[in-house]
Every structure is written in C-alpha cells, then in structure tokens.
C-alpha cells in the first residue's frame, strides 16, 4: 500500500497500520484509501458497477470488523482484501452468470459495412470474444476466482494462495487448468490434455 516494507524507515506496512487500527479505528482509513478504488475496479469489471459499489464497501466493512483477524506476519493487506471480496462475489453468482451471458452475446446489429476482409475479421473477433466469455463463464467457480485474481487483479500465485487460503500448488493447478480450457475454447492446442471432473483439493 503506502510503501513496500523495505522502502524506508518510517513508512508503515499494512500490518503495522492494521495493528494500530486495533485501538485507533480511524487508522483503518489508511487501508481503505490505499485499496478501495482497486477492489472496486476489480469487482466492477467482474460483475458490474452497482454490485461493485455494494461489494467493495462491504469488503472494507467486513475487513474493518475483522481487522484483529488479519495475520500481522503478512505485510501486505491486498490478498486479504481480495479474499474477502472473492467471498462476497460468491454470493453474486447469478449476477456473474448474467454478466457472462451478456459478454457472450454477439452484437445484434452485425458488423459495420466495409471491406470484406475487415468485416470477416470483425465477425471472427466477435465470435472469439463470445467463445471466450462462454468459456470463462463455464469454468468452475474456484478456477475462475484464481484466473481473474491473476489476470484482472494482478495477484501473484502466492498472493492468490493467501487470498483464497489454499496451498500454492492448488492455485498453480487451478490456473493452468483454467488457462488450458480457455485455450481450447479459442481453438488452440491444449498442452495439458485437459481433464474434466474433480480438479483439486
């Protein structure tokens, strides 16, 4: 947030700010200021702006109330906040399903006129996007969480593992399986010989 732990002597880590907020609640405003826009953006992209208004606010409300549950051995609060947001998003599966249906829908008005090749390219891109949206929507919730935390939120595997409270290996495996499914949906070669069924722990 404010600075990485080794940036300077007086720059607090998230952990030190949260620890102070135990007794001085307004300190939690520092965490809010550092991450609210980012969490909102993630939820808004994944669901929609209205859901993001609610979920991002709820994320920080929950985080504030549970601030004594933050593991102070972790300097950075980002994964923790994404973890809370992910749990809340899980309550909006229907909104999310609707979102993917909307993303998968082909443009109603068809491609704009123009050179034949360009029209063909547009149609192809449109279909590809639709296939991709369907594929992302068809992922298991666990795989989709990992994929989107990595791709949209730019979390590392390690941070995703912290956020979701699962082992690192589980994150890596969910991610590569999700990726393989998408590649397949886009017509690429599936390097993993993707298997359906039980995924991981």
């Amino acid at each position: 947030m404010v600075a990485p732990p080794d940036a300077g002597p007086d720059l607090p880590t998230d952990a030190s700010v949260i620890e102070r907020s135990w007794q001085d609640p307004e300190r939690f405003g520092v965490i809010f200021d550092a991450y609210f826009a980012e969490i909102h953006r993630y939820v808004a992209r994944r669901l929609d702006v209205e859901a993001a208004d609610d979920i991002a606010a709820e994320t920080f409300h929950v985080a504030f109330r549970r601030r004594k549950r933050f593991d102070l051995s972790r300097d950075n609060a980002r994964p923790w906040l994404y973890g809370i947001a992910t749990n809340l998003i899980a309550r909006h599966r229907r909104t999310e399903a609707r979102r993917f249906r909307a993303l998968a829908r082909l443009g109603d008005d068809g491609p704009a006129g123009g050179h034949e090749d360009r029209v063909a390219a547009q149609v192809s891109a449109e279909h590809e996007r639709s296939r991709l949206a369907q594929a992302v929507g068809a992922l298991s919730a666990d795989q989709r969480d990992v994929l989107l935390l990595v791709v949209l939120a730019d979390l590392t595997y390690d941070e995703v593992a912290q956020a979701l409270d699962v082992p690192y290996g589980t994150v890596a495996s969910r991610f590569s399986r999700a990726r393989a499914k998408l590649r397949k949906a886009l017509g690429g070669v599936d390097p993993l010989h993707d298997q359906e069924g039980p995924i991981d722990g």
Partner: protein, 385 residues
C-alpha cells in the same frame, strides 16, 4: 492472441467509484455509524492529528475538567508483588474451564473523543459476535452491530446533559468527518464471515488451525512466549529488513488476540498468561476495572510519550504526544478469563492535558467468550444502558 490478454480485454475498464460511494464506504470502514445527518458538533479525535492537538486542549480546557468516574481504572495502584500473586491465581483458574460444542466470542470496541463542548464520548463503538463449531461442518458465523456513542465517564455524562444531551456527535478524524450517534444498530451478519466450522484463525500460523491443532498447542509458558510473543515472522523470503523488535505493549495485544481468536485449551491460556507476566516491562495491577464496571487483576505496560502520526500523504512521522499511556489487560480473578484490553492515560499532557490519569482512551472489551453446548447467537441486550 494470448488467451490471458483476451480475458483481460473481455472485461472492459470501469469508471472509478463515485465520490459519494467512496465516502459512505469509508465511514463504514472506519467504525462510524454514519447513517444520520450529523448535527454540527465538532470534536477531534482522541489520537492523531498534530494540528488538532491545540484546538482540543483549548476546547476542553475552557469547559472545565470532566474527569474520571469512580469506575474508571486507577493505574497508579500498582502493587507488583500482590498483583502478581493475584494474577497467577487467576491463571490457575483459567486452567479449569470446561469445553463444549461451540466456541464464541463477544467483543466491544470503542474509542474516546474529546468534544469542543467540554466532554468526551466513546465513539467508533462496535460490538462483534463470532462463533465457530468445534466439529467440522458444525458452522461458524460473524456478526457486528453499532453501539450507541456514549459519554465517556459519569462527569462527561453530566456535562453532556447540561449541553442538552445531543444525540449525535460529529468528529473529525484524520481530515474525514465522521458522526457517531446515540442510536444502536441491528446485528448484521457479515456475509464474508460464514464458514463450516472446525477451524480457527490464529495469528502467526499463516493458515487456519483445526480444532485438534488448537487443542494440541503447547502449554509450557517458555515455548508459548517463543512461539507467540516473538516478532511476527517469518517475513516473505527476499524481504530486506528483518522483523521489527516486538514492543512489550504489542505482546499484551498479541496475547489478548490469541485468547479471543480460538478456544485455547485452559492450560495453553494459563501458560500464555504466565509467559506474559514474565516479560520485561510487564507489571501487574492488583485491581483494575473496565468500562462495563467489571473488576479484575491487570497486566500493564507503560508506553513512551511519543507515537506515530499520520501525514496527509499517508506516511507516518514520529511525534511527541506530551502524554503517556498504559496498555492494560484485565483478567477476571475468579475465572482467569480476559475481560478487557484498554489504553489508559498515565500522565496527562498534550491533547489529554485536561484529563486525569486513568482516563480510558480506547477499549476492547470482551463481553463474554468461551464454550457453549448450544449453537450461539448474538445477544439482543445492549451492553451499556
């Protein structure tokens, strides 16, 4: 096209949250009830802003001193030997508490604010209730509700009543206005707090522990001190700086957190209490009381007169407070249960120059915690009248 880039492009960028949305969310994220329109009654935070300190002192000083009530803890009656004996007896009692099917913890947090009108209120007043089933699959929930802001001491209550007993208190907090009201909120279940049970979060493990793992924690006080009262490590590999040294006050807070995070077996809790009292800088107070009027034996750590202050750019700067505080953990003498953790004014000065020693700057009260055989639910009754 790379499928990951394609996914990134599938989700278009969105506009940033509206200022109104952000402001409202921020109030909820810092403990303000923030639902009613505030009356313009300015107060300043009990801790924090450098620039505010003078104004607070002026405001409070001109209205006469609103001191401490009879129920306030008195940090001066420190009796190292007696206190220690009483404390160790309490630790022995902590070994004898029975187990049940559900573990719960009901906590209240609040912070004092000095108002211009010459009295102090407790704001950011929240109660949280959480429970976890011992067995896997038996569930767990987390609830919270806003508690009414209240005058901090009986003297403050008198001044507040003379001021017409206003029902909302507007405070400035690090440049953000917040309003605390006399209204109690309803219990709300935190949507992110549901879990299946049988697991507990204990700080420092980096993961949740199963009930069995919690029950198998070491009981020896030296092992416990090493395990729990040492720096929060390991840091991430590659971090350049090692763990910061652990302050004695932090050790108290850490222990309080452990005791209220999971059903530590009685012998583990007792071992932790013995580990605490053996720490340098930790002394005992034979009799202390909390905001609910409960008396007990306390462990205390005197704090230095300086602290960190928040700058507008979000960084911290070292600042001399001009006052000293003491962190206290209060334990029930009969059961050894943790009753409260509170920060108490030791030497008045600075923002608190008009307050008497013993003034409670903030508190975290453990209303109750422990095992029960029935699935718990948050208590409807308010903790304060």
């Amino acid at each position: 096209m790379d499928e990951l880039q394609a996914v990134r492009e599938l989700f278009p960028e969105t506009p940033p949250p509206a200022a109104r949305v952000t402001a409202r969310a921020r109030r909820r994220a810092t403990g303000a009830a923030g639902r009613r329109l505030p009356r313009l009654r300015w107060a300043l935070p009990g801790l924090g802003l450098v620039a505010a300190a003078t104004a607070v002192a002026l405001a409070v000083g001109s209205a006469g001193s609103a001191g401490d009530g009879p129920k306030r803890p008195v940090p001066t009656s420190s009796l190292p030997l007696d206190g220690r004996a009483v404390f160790l007896a309490a630790a022995e009692q902590a070994e004898r508490q029975p187990m049940g099917g559900y573990w719960y913890c009901d906590q209240i947090s609040g912070q004092s604010y000095l108002l211009k009108a010459g009295y102090a209120v407790i704001g950011a007043h929240l109660e949280t209730f959480e429970w976890t089933g011992a067995a896997k699959g038996s569930g767990g929930r987390f609830y919270g509700r806003d508690l009414p802001a209240r005058p901090a001491t009986p003297e403050d209550e008198a001044v507040w009543e003379r001021a017409g007993a206003p029902t909302s208190f507007r405070v400035m907090s690090n440049g953000h206005p917040m309003t605390y009201t006399r209204k109690a909120g309803r219990w709300e279940e935190d949507k992110g707090g549901q879990h299946s049970g049988g697991r507990f979060f204990l700080m420092g493990f980096g993961k949740e522990l199963t009930t069995q793992e919690v029950l198998a924690l070491p009981t020896d006080s030296r092992t416990l001190a090493k395990r729990f009262l040492s720096p929060p490590s390991p840091r991430r590999p590659g971090a350049k700086r090692g763990p910061a040294p652990v302050s004695n006050a932090y050790k108290l807070l850490r222990a309080a957190d452990l005791l209220t995070s999971a059903p530590l077996p009685p012998k583990v809790g007792a071992g932790l209490m013995r580990a605490l009292v053996a720490q340098p800088g930790v002394h005992t107070i034979a009799t202390a009381s909390d905001a609910l009027g409960r008396q007990g034996v306390a462990l205390a750590v005197d704090q230095p007169s300086w602290g960190w202050d928040l700058r507008p750019d979000g960084t911290f700067v070292r600042k001399d407070n001009g006052y000293r505080t003491q962190e206290q953990l209060i334990f029930d003498k009969k059961t050894g249960a943790l009753l409260a953790e509170q920060s108490v004014l030791l030497t008045p000065g600075g923002e608190y120059r008009s307050r008497k020693p013993g003034f409670v700057i903030d508190y975290w009260l453990i209303r109750s915690y422990g095992w029960t055989d029935r699935r718990p639910s948050p208590p409807p009754a308010l903790p304060f009248r």
